[in-house]
Amino acid sequence: MKAVFKYIICCCSCLLASYYNSCAQSSGTYCSEAQKLISVLNKNHYSPLQFTSQTSNEIIEDLIEKLDPSGIYFTLRDIEKLKKFRTDLNLNSGSCELFSVVFSLYRNSLVRADSMVERIGKKQFAFNGRDTLIFSPKKNYKPFHSGSESDLEKRWLKWMKYQTLLSIFSDDEKNTDFEKNFSELMALEPEARKNITRKMKAGINRILHNPVGFENHVASVILNCIANRFDPHSVYFNENDMKIFESALSTSDESFGFYLETDDHGALKIARIIPGGSAWKSNELHKGDVLISIKKRSGEEIEIDDLAENEVEDILSTNTIREIELTVRKADEQVKHVTLVKEKIKSEENVVKSYILSGPKKIGYISLPSFYTDSENPNAPGCANDVAKEIMKLQQDSIEGLILDLRYNGGGSVREALDLAGIFIDEGPLFLQRLRDQKPTLLKDMNRGTAYSGPLAIMCNGYSASASELVTEALQDYNRAIIVGSTTYGKATGQIVLPLDSNINIYGFNADPGAFLKKDSSFVKVTVEKFYRVNGGTHQFKGVIPDIILPDLFFSEDFRESSSPWALKPDTIVKKVYYTPLKELPKKQLKEKSGERVASSKNFSRIKTMSDSLQLSFDKERRLPVTVANVKKDEQSYYHFLKALELAIIGESGYYTVKNNSHDNKVLIVDEYSRELNNELLEHLKNDIYIEESYRIITDLINFER
């Protein structure tokens, strides 16, 4: 009877856990999952991998970094326990131990860290300068690990002291002038320490009590280290990840229009913006923005420190919350407050907007944040069709030139990229696609003719990736557009999602990835193809270099594909491609004129200086003795840096005015919500110095072509 009772308990707990996901599996099951993963990857990946002792070592190194990116959980002695897997992950034999060893090691380390934080948080902090924080250079960063538990505890102490001081200083609402004296600050210490302790413990507990189960979560990290070793875009999805992935594709619910994810440091980040949603329309939120706080309309703050992403999303999905103010930190460290209203998102809604910049010339402006398709009907016209519609509206307003803004556009559908480039190119091959060991195939503009044949400028930056790079380079190769901005991300690979069914081989039949999504199994997103320019080169790893480069804070390679050690390397293909470029654009002259303006621009000069100093700080080790004065000085300079940045990127020349196209104006008369958002957007477009310089460049282009 006892045995039966035990069995029932086990089943019940499994059922409860399966609310989120399946129960933790045995280490053997995970090993078999790993074997299937490697098998599917090796069968289908563009560049299969021979597993050697070096590969195993690299995967273990990556795993340690992913589980403990700041070196605050593992000691060197803990890491030593993984030594035997460095020469062989040993996934094939019946005695596969990798998963069970990592689970136990990581769990113990987290529990130990939790106790350390608890202990440390109980005593008042002395900021006497005996502790020095060392910030490692970003380039080739590897976390440092303490030799012993006592050293690790000292490390935590330093870290918590620093975080406590930061929380005292960095709340800009309380302390913009940094005028508080030592005793005033010390009065804030107990509360700040308490908050930091709670925050740190919440971060640790979020890992220990991950909604999908601790072991499933850690197994996912291990399996992802294996997948990532093939290339950074090959990713393992467990059943739960897949559900999230699928639900992210659906756009029919009422929501604020964004999804969250937790990064390796426990911070909540924007994982995805839903086209047409409130977040999308705001034009202020982007993937990767770090969530700082959420306020309800009443001003009441929603406590998010201890919550996982799905818990925050659950709270936001309750009917009582209709309007929120999000505070986020952008990739460039700016802090933004964005108001969002919950609404039903319709996939068929036109989510691209166009504007008219009126100055010496009447220029159309369209921003496209991703290459989306209709998730419910992938064959229906997608974003390219929406852009074409906006162009038609702008043409009714007789524009003389067009700016297409692909900054921060992380890519999406390749078919949409073809259709978008096709808007501007009559006919011909746009780029080449190559599957492993196969002859390259030309991808052509499938619509003869152009929807817009006037002067065109494309804006891009280091966050323009994949499909946006394909469009940018195709238009560059055809001399169709002047490309303005900074070097793009450098991803010229394509992925498909396959189930971990080792019999599947995309080279054996015409794979329809959509058909696989219904299967009940884990999945892997596999890099199966590379893309090349019509001249045989590729932007893989290197990015597309604009015709006119503008100073940018994040021009550094540290943020690009090339920063990943396992990124596929660039190569070239030799193939005769028949295409007819248009006549050369006056790039040299445009570059000279822009160069003169940029050199005399206070905004760009500031950005250039700040960019140089930022790069220097990335490249150099920095030491900070943890005293009130030091951290205050450090925070003060950081605060001023951000303020200066805010000033630097906002232009006020008033060189042009911004308005909606006549078509949208009629809609705005009756749509109050859109009208409010629209006013903010118009202001933003007016003050963006990159848009302004692009406007001046396209004006020059029109004048040259006359």
């Binding site: 036109n350 259709d419 006919e427 619509n447 003869r448 929807a451 028949y578 009756v670």
Partner: protein, 343 residues
């Protein structure tokens, strides 16, 4: 739609010979004879196509030409080299081989179809390009035979006299008719196909594709009309040119004035749906008089746009059908009238 596109007529110069050295003459004659059988079958086939015979009959005739070409090739292949010289025999074999493959539409055997596909916009353009390359190859092969015949004759002291037969004369006339017809047909076909793409895009609500196809239709129709202007009537018959010109003028007008109205309707529709959604989302008691007035105005504009859309669509469909039908009739009439009749 008339399925006739381009007819490949295997056509070589027929020589007759007066001879001094008997065996070499026999050798040459046995080769030339092979062409006479093929020419006769070719003529039957050409007549069937030109005079509106049933598809089954046309296909039977084509198979006969294929059969006679294959048999001729086999017979010539079995011939021994003359005095150790196989160049004439081999040039004839390769010509017949080429002729067979072209008539059989087996282009992959004579050119790199992948490259043809890559150079072309769509399958139809690839087919046209393949036909063009095939014709060039046929002409080249024909010249080669001619050259080999002359060399053979010179080497073996044979005097060649250029001559014609009734069949070759008819084939020659038919070739001229089809040259002209094919030229006009291509001018017609390109915008015709472009218009089909446009209608397909309209059915998919793909405004991007519609917009591009409209621009392209206008450009191609213009180019076609300019080329028609430089084309003379065929032996005083301007009917084919005229009906082609009418279709192209329709495409030009449609792309300039009619299709843009269709596009505009889609924009109007989208605008109306947005206005309606915003209006419906507002509770009735919060709607202002201005909201109601704006909405009513939008309804009125949308209804007017719908009516115009329907009228334009009907007009496009009816005019297109009538003009294409007229073109088909004049195309059939043209070949029937100008390609000689009888055996």
């Amino acid at each position: 739609m008339n399925p006739k596109l381009i007819l490949n007529i295997a056509f070589t110069v027929i020589f007759s010979v007066t001879s001094y050295a008997q065996s070499s003459v026999e050798y040459l004659e046995s080769i030339t004879k092979e062409f006479e059988t093929i020419a006769a079958d070719n003529w039957d086939y050409t007549r069937a196509v030109a005079h509106g015979k049933s598809a089954r009959k046309v296909e039977n005739r084509r198979r006969e030409v294929l059969k006679s070409t294959l048999e001729a090739k086999q017979r010539v292949s079995r011939m021994k080299p003359y005095s150790g010289d196989a160049s004439l025999r081999d040039s004839v074999v390769s010509y017949l081989n080429l002729s067979y493959n072209i008539l059989n539409h087996d282009y992959a055997k004579i050119m790199d179809m992948e490259e043809v596909a890559e150079q072309s916009y769509d399958l139809m353009e690839a087919y046209m390009l393949a036909q063009k390359i095939a014709n060039e190859k046929m002409n080249k092969a024909s010249l080669m035979i001619d050259d080999e015949q002359r060399k053979f004759a010179a080497k073996n002291n044979i005097k060649l006299i250029e001559g014609t037969t009734k069949t070759s004369e008819k084939l020659s006339k038919a070739a001229k008719v089809y040259d002209y017809y094919n030229g006009v047909y291509l001018i017609f076909f390109k915008p015709f196909k472009q218009d089909i793409y446009l209608v397909e895009a309209q059915n998919k609500n793909d405004m991007n594709a519609m917009k591009q196809n409209i621009e392209s239709l206008s450009k191609i129709s213009d180019e076609g009309l300019k080329r028609l202007d430089t084309l003379k009537a065929f032996g005083g018959d301007a009917s084919l040119k005229q009906s082609c010109s009418e279709v192209l003028k329709f495409y030009k007008t449609a792309s300039a004035n009619k299709y843009p109205k269709v596009l505009d309707f889609y924009l109007q529709k989208e605008k109306f749906e947005k206005i309606k959604a915003a209006f419906d989302a507002k509770p009735q008691n919060k709607r202002t008089q201005q909201d109601v007035d704006e909405f009513n105005k939008a309804v009125k504009e949308y209804n007017a746009a719908s009516n115009e859309y329907n009228a334009v669509n009907n007009e496009l469909n009816n005019t297109r059908a009538a003009l294409v039908d007229k073109w088909n009739k004049s195309a059939s009439g043209f070949t029937d009238k100008h390609v000689p009749k009888g055996k």
